[in-house]
Amino acid sequence: MKRFRCAVLSVIKHDYIARGVTAHPRFEVTVVADDASQPDWVHERNQKFADEFRIPYVRDVERALAEYGVEVAVVSSEAERHCDLSVRAANAGLHIVQDKPMSNRLSECDRVVEAVERNRVKFLMWNRNFLPAVVHAQQVIASGAIGQPWAIHVDFYFSKDAGPPKGSRKPGDPPINWLQYQIAAHADGSDGALGREPIGELQNEGIYPLAYIRCLTGANVRRVFARTTAHFHQVNVDNGVDDLATVTLEMEHGLLGSLCVGRIGAASHPDIGEIKIHVLGTAGALVISEARPEVAVYYRGQPEKEFRHRRVAIDNDYLLMENFAHAIDTDSETILDARAGRAICAITEAALKSSRLGKPVNLSAR
């Protein structure tokens, strides 16, 4: 089987995608690259990853793409650079695996869709659709056990802290700078949407539950009504972005649905968070806990922040890359391609607009 040489284009947010790519034996990371104009902290993170994998770090994206014989780009930069790096990779003829969110601007997503389709390359937005419980849900629905789905709800509560709690800023203290906070928070893994421009949790995490809905129903969203707020974290308050959101979804074929997304704080759940999928169909209903299967582990002296319930049998990374490889091999679409990623970005953008207006917002049918 053909193996794919991968260029990691910036690995400064988290490195789980670049590592995830290597879960599949057909993919190997060959080079890390970024623009020379990036600040020192970007180069430091890129260099660290390159050193660990014993591959070169090249401060020139185009040169790396041209000289290292790569066929796949793995993009995990700040959110606002995602699409630009992906477009440059597509124009160089590379297939792309990209971190979320697709972008903080829909116009940037449009650039990716155009470049990917013009260059006839494959694009995969990283997602969680191959978690065991999600695959199980898909199988149950496909079996017809609950009939035709007509309502779907996803709760995606992510129980991590993000710095000091809301209301903790003292009079006279300056507001928390978003980028500086995210850079500093990287040390303990509590960083969220890395970027120069603040991004709320609906834009940052919304792709996962919206990808579930897309995967399980295949339906496009036509209208949204949303509420968003900064309820937990001072950094979100200071930067005017949400950490809690609810969205009513009105979809094709009369499907209804909803979405709850929140970075609800570490104290609010003993594990990573309450993540559930509820589906109603013409012949029944399905309630799925995304965390299952899991194993409970408790012991004396257990660290406070250690999860008591540990997910097992997770093969999401491998299965995503298997899907990506299959798409390349057969010239088929990936499980979450550029148009799907763009559609999800459009939903979150419309939801934020709805929240500002207090009105439902229609989405175009493109």
């Binding site: 809690l244 009369g254 909803s258 104290a267 109603l280 309630v287 439902p360």
Partner: protein
């Protein structure tokens, strides 16, 4: 000892018969049921001295046999049982909804205040053991400021006598959101206020008179609070499903049937069985009413709570009709309640 009269016609008597022996400071002394044989049998079972076939007969012939009335009958709307019981000086525990329209609810509240009787709205979901734990933790401050309430309630159509089934057919009510009243009340109660904005969606039925199906309600509260509630009457059969999550600024509570399922193996895939929570919620609700009457205080769920539920459900119906969000404050501007 408070003397209670039960006015009901939907088998509710059997439930009260189970909890009556555990009730303190009160006992049932009168029963009214549209089926005379049922009324007589229940009176004997529960130890009531008198029985009648309807509200009017009970009030006319046995007025001196009871101090308070539990209003469960579907005819309470058409025959204005609430206002008339208050005018008769009887304390009232009125099953929600207390009225079909805002102005009717406001009338009951006004008459009750003028008569200085205790008016409590029956909303037993507030007294359910799991919900009480959620509320207690919210009130204690452990969860911080409530931010998000998510409720799913799904039932089998055969097991859910929706309001459309018990309403008199001559009333012009076709609001598919009526079954959401308990959850609307929970949302207002847990947030400590009514919503400022409402957006409702529903699964469109082919038959315009068929209110069965699915409704979904999105509520926005001041200070950014939000609630998402969905209600389905479409499960195939047997047990329903209830799930409530309250996400606060410092913590969260999850009351979810999914967490409380047992497994039964009889060949093939295992079956999930829900361990039920009994009748304690009804006993707690009735005891609260009795205590409120005795202590001459406002009950846990007063008339204004009942009115608020109706206001929100009317706003939701308007949202559904126009396909747009509705500001509740605009709706409440037409409030007809006259303070006593």
């Amino acid at each position: 000892m408070l003397r209670l009269a039960l006015v009901g016609d939907h088998g509710v008597g059997a439930t009260y018969a189970r909890i009556a022996p555990r009730l303190r400071k009160a006992r049932f002394t009168a029963i009214a049921d549209s089926d005379g044989a049922t009324a007589q049998a229940l009176a004997a079972l529960i130890g009531a001295e008198v029985w009648a076939e309807d509200f009017d007969t009970l009030l006319a012939k046995h007025h001196g046999s009871f101090d308070a009335m539990l209003l469960h009958s579907a005819s309470r709307f058409k025959e204005q049982h609430g206002a008339r019981a208050a005018q008769a000086g009887k304390h009232i525990l009125c099953q929600s909804p207390m009225a079909l329209f805002r102005h009717e609810a406001a009338e009951i509240i006004s008459v009750s205040r003028a008569a200085r009787i205790c008016l409590m709205i029956g909303q037993d979901l507030r007294f359910a053991p799991a919900i009480r734990v959620v509320k207690e933790n919210g009130e204690s401050g452990r969860l911080g400021e409530p931010g998000l309430l998510r409720i799913h309630r799904w039932q089998a159509s055969e097991c859910s006598p929706g309001l459309s089934d018990i309403l008199p057919c001559d009333r012009p009510v076709a609001n598919p959101l009526w079954p959401l009243l308990p959850e609307i009340d929970l949302a207002c109660w847990l947030f400590g206020r009514g919503p400022e904005i409402v957006y409702a969606t529903a699964r469109r039925e082919e038959k315009p008179t068929n209110t069965r199906g699915y409704v979904q309600l999105h509520l926005g509260f001041s200070d950014g609070g939000m609630a998402l509630i969905d209600y389905a009457e479409t499960l195939p059969k047997d047990d329903g499903y209830f799930s409530l999550s309250l996400i606060g600024s410092k913590g969260a509570a999850y009351a979810d049937d999914h967490h409380n399922m047992q497994l039964l193996f009889t060949g093939g895939p295992p079956v999930a069985l829900k361990t039920l929570q009994g009748d304690l919620h009804l006993l707690a609700q009735l005891q609260e009413f009795v205590e409120a009457v005795e202590q001459r205080r406002e009950p846990a769920i007063g008339g204004t709570d009942g009115l608020r539920m109706i206001e929100v459900v009317e706003a939701a119906a308007r949202s559904l009709a126009i396909g747009d969000s509705v500001r509740c404050l605009e709706e409440q501007a037409e409030d007809t309640l006259t303070p006593a």
